[in-house]
């Protein structure tokens, strides 16, 4: 029997990028986003997970004028144009940090299979649901 990570008839692999760090304090969030955008060029099944402090990456109203760093949060809005439209946010991580879905940026994509209807890219999932999603991946890259 073929293992999940072995190449079968379908060469498309499921990649998940797991983001666990707040933006700006370290370079992990920005670097991960760069890698995600590069991965879009390879026509793979890409999803992103935001857990622990990674949920802060999607916080709306980020304003970096005072710290002399580039505000890269608008770049997440471009993901939908690269067919990266599965952004899973862990509910428990939001709750622990006093955050709600409404505190995050509204990220959307246009569904080509549904007359280009605008749909949300962000799905809030429980820790248990995220565990199942991770179990379905061929490759997981965490930062």
């Amino acid at each position: 029997m073929m293992e999940a990570w072995e190449e079968g008839d379908n060469p498309m692999k499921k990649f998940m990028f797991v983001n666990r760090k707040a933006p700006y304090g370290t370079v992990y969030a920005l670097e991960s986003l760069e890698v995600v955008l590069i991965s879009a060029a390879f026509d793979q099944d890409v999803s992103l997970a935001f857990v622990d402090d990674g949920v802060y990456q999607l916080k709306k109203d980020q304003n970096t004028d005072g710290i002399g760093m580039k505000n890269f949060s608008p770049t997440y809005r471009a993901l939908g144009d690269y067919d990266i439209n599965k952004l899973f946010v862990e509910q428990e991580s939001l709750t622990e940090r006093g955050l709600k879905l409404e505190d995050l940026m509204a990220l959307t994509y246009e569904d080509e299979d549904d007359d280009w209807a605008e749909k949300t890219s962000i799905q809030v999932v429980t820790r248990a649901e995220l565990a199942d999603l991770m179990d379905q991946q061929h490759v997981i890259i965490s930062s």
Binding site: R20, K21, A22, P23, Y24, G25, T26, D52, D53, Y56, K59, K60, D61, Q62, N63, T64, D65, G66, I67, M69, N71, S73, E96, R97, G98, D103
Partner: protein, 102 residues
């Protein structure tokens, strides 16, 4: 001796804020900068600990780092004072000593 304690890591991923709050003496000042600013936000799993600390210590948060992460003064725990960079400098000069919790 008055001491300014500076914490720069998120309380959700490091234990430095917890160690700082447990070790610092009453009357000291605690300044949250960089990723530590998220600890100042209301209604989180660590806000009770900060609220308790405010009773005996002065807690500050660096505004520019707070704004970068999408938060404003309206989002932070009552009793935490926001400072800008010149306020940061003032804190270092007003206190006899500074301890950075790395």
């Amino acid at each position: 001796m008055s001491m300014l304690h500076i914490v720069n890591k998120s309380p959700f991923e490091r234990g430095t804020l917890d160690s700082c709050l447990k070790t610092s003496l009453d009357g000291s000042s605690v300044l949250l900068i960089e990723d530590a600013v998220v600890g100042a936000v209301k209604d989180s799993s660590c806000s009770d600990q900060i609220t308790a600390a405010i009773a005996s210590k002065k807690v500050f948060v660096l505004g520019p780092d707070l704004n970068a992460r999408g938060f404003t003064d309206a989002d932070i725990i009552d009793g935490i004072k926001t400072v800008d960079y010149s306020g940061f400098v003032d804190l270092t000069t007003e206190n006899d000593n500074v301890q950075s919790w790395l």
